[in-house]
Each structure stands twice: as C-alpha cells, then as structure tokens.
Symmetry: C2
Subunit: 203 residues, 2 copies
C-alpha cells in the first residue's frame, strides 16, 4: 500500500496523524498540486475528484477521501479505537467530525483559496467571499471554546478522529489565515496544547 | 425518539428516505427555518450548528448531522445494509458519499443561498460566487455520468446511502437551480429513474 499526498496539505496530515496513532507504517509519494499533477488524466483515474490523499491498495484499486481512508484503517486495526465503539458513540464522533469539517475546515480552506488565489490558474476566486469564510472560521473557534468548556475532547472524554480533524484545521487556519486561539479561549487552548503535544501531531 | 426537520429540506429528506429503506417508523416535528427558529437558544442547545435534522433520543440527548443519524440507525437496524459490510466496501461507500456531499450537494446548497439570498437576513451573499457554485454543481453531473457508465449504483453494484445523498442533491438542484440531467447523460438518467422510483423516494 502507498498514500499519494502532499506533506503540507491538511487533509494529508489527517491520514498521517491517524496512522501514527494506530502505529501503522506507510509509504508516501508526493503529488505536485501546484503544478497540477492532481488534474492529470493519470491522477484522475485514481481519484475522479482530483484530490489528495489517495490510498493505493495492493489489488491495484484506489481509495480517496481522508476520513474514508482513516475508517478503512480503523477497521483493519481496531486497537486504539478512534471512531467509537457503540452505535451512539460512533454517531456522536461522526457528528462532531462533520461539525469540524463543514464549519471549521471547509470555510478555512475556501478562505485560503479565495483570498490568496492560490489555485487561480484553475478556479475563479472571489476575495470578498474568502474574507467572509475567514470570519465564519473564526466564529467556530468560539463554538469550540464553548464545547471544550464542557468536554475534555471534541467528541467526548477521549481522543478521537474528531480531534485530529480539528487540530489539522486549526493549524491550517493559523498558518494560512493568521487566525489564532485568543487569550480568552482557555478551554480551547488547554485542548490544543494536549492534542498538539501527542507524538502523532508531528507525523 | 423524534426528528426535528423541515419537510422540504434536502438533508431532512436523506434521513426520511433512509428510515423508509430500513422500515423504521419515526415521529417528526417541523422547524421554521425561514423564521429563524433554528437559531433560537432553545434549538442551539440541541444542535450548536443550528441546522436540521436533529434526532431527539429517549435519554434526553440529541444527535445532529444527517449522515451521523443514518449511521446510528444503520447500526441499530443492520438488516438491509446501506453503509457497507466489509472494511473496503464501507470505505468505498464513504468515499462516494463524500464525493457527493462535497462536489454536488454543497455547491448546490451554496448556489441556492448565494443566488437567491434566501437567508440574507442572517448571512452575507455573493451572487457571483453562487453562479460559480452552480457551474461546479453541473460539472459533477458529468462526473456522475462517467461513474454510472461503469457502475450500476453510485458506490458499486447495489443501492447504498451514497445513492440517497445523490438523489437528494440532484432533486434539490433541479428544483432550486433548474439544473437537469441532459439527454446525453444516459447512464445518469437510467440511475435516476431506478432510484427515484423506489418507494422510499416519496418518504
């Protein structure tokens, strides 16, 4: 098996961090997103959406989408559970994962692309929409502060895939949008320090 | 148990269709989205994201996000499997579900909101971005045509949650954006006729 990725891309980091938590060794091959390698016919045959990460399976098929790849490895390696054990816990973790994806990660990604025009060779950018997305991203820092005042981790009392998604989104927002946890967001900062000090955060 | 929803909202339809496929009876309560009932403190206590559908559980807790709700019922009622049985099939169904959500449903939803200003009392709209989203939605009709030339259903050779997500998105795009399957998209039309004629499509 091998993962096609780009080391600095947040969705690729999700998979690396997840596999580090699981203790799974993996081979990686870098994809030149800036040069458009992900839009080549060869790559689109692996993933019709033209995105990384993509897992190449030993049978010659491919699996895309970071969370689908993580869930695949969760089921292959059930120790150190990160997706939940009971139907309700599994649903709650998925709910929080989706909250993070739709309200924190996606606005952050759109803000970056529309403000910087990073992919303006292949998409139409609207900087004002990017600024609005940056505002929306910042608002969810506040939602997470409220949540983490009541919960040790994002989805409950233990570390899960939802924390991986949130950490990757927050570090991306800090690096590309200069959005940072404020001094008043004490619970969010406590969570951030705990999660980012895990060895997997360096994967 | 009870589901808070809005009958005409596509994410609410996902849950109704899923429960109809599973043969699960459910009580529903309508939420006045246009009037902002979903942004009231009472509703935000149920779902901090302020969205429908929300499942009220018998223990007094709440579960949000359509796909998390569906997965919860999948695990409670494993007959007529819709999320996959093996680790690989489950990952493939999740991959296609995410393709549909991110590339078809989300652009369609943003197009509707930004073009019509439907929620302009509570969000800033950029009509040009809405038009771009409409273009992106239409492009994925073409991606689905390619996929369905090679596959009977979206995620493989049987009906799954991915087909529910796709049907809800396509019907929404037709109704609100006047985006329709073209005469040349024969495989997509074949799939659409098969899926929309299931009794659950009327739920």
């Amino acid at each position: 098996m091998k993962v096609y990725e780009l080391k600095r891309a947040p969705n690729a980091r999700r998979v690396r961090m997840f596999l580090a938590e699981k203790g799974v060794d993996m081979a990686y091959e870098q994809v030149d997103l800036s040069g458009g390698e992900n839009l080549s016919p060869d790559f689109l045959a692996k993933n019709p959406a033209g995105r990384i990460p993509v897992l190449a399976l030993d049978d010659g098929s491919y699996l895309s989408e970071s969370v689908a790849i993580c869930r695949y490895f969760e089921e292959l390696y059930p120790d150190n559970n990160l997706f939940g054990t009971t139907p309700l816990e599994r649903a709650q973790i998925e709910m929080w994962s989706r909250f993070i994806e739709f309200n924190l990660w996606q606005p952050a990604g759109m803000a970056f692309r529309h403000i910087t025009g990073f992919y303006q060779d292949r998409e139409t950018c609207f900087p004002e929409w990017g600024q609005e997305c940056k505002l929306l991203t910042g608002q969810w820092f506040g939602k997470l502060e409220e949540r983490l005042q009541a919960s040790v981790y994002i989805a409950g009392d233990r570390f899960t895939i939802a924390d991986i998604l949130a950490l990757c989104a927050i570090d991306f927002a800090a690096r590309t949008l200069a959005l940072h946890i404020s001094d008043e967001q004490i619970a969010l900062k406590r969570w951030y320090d705990a999660v980012s000090s895990r060895p997997s955060a360096q994967a």
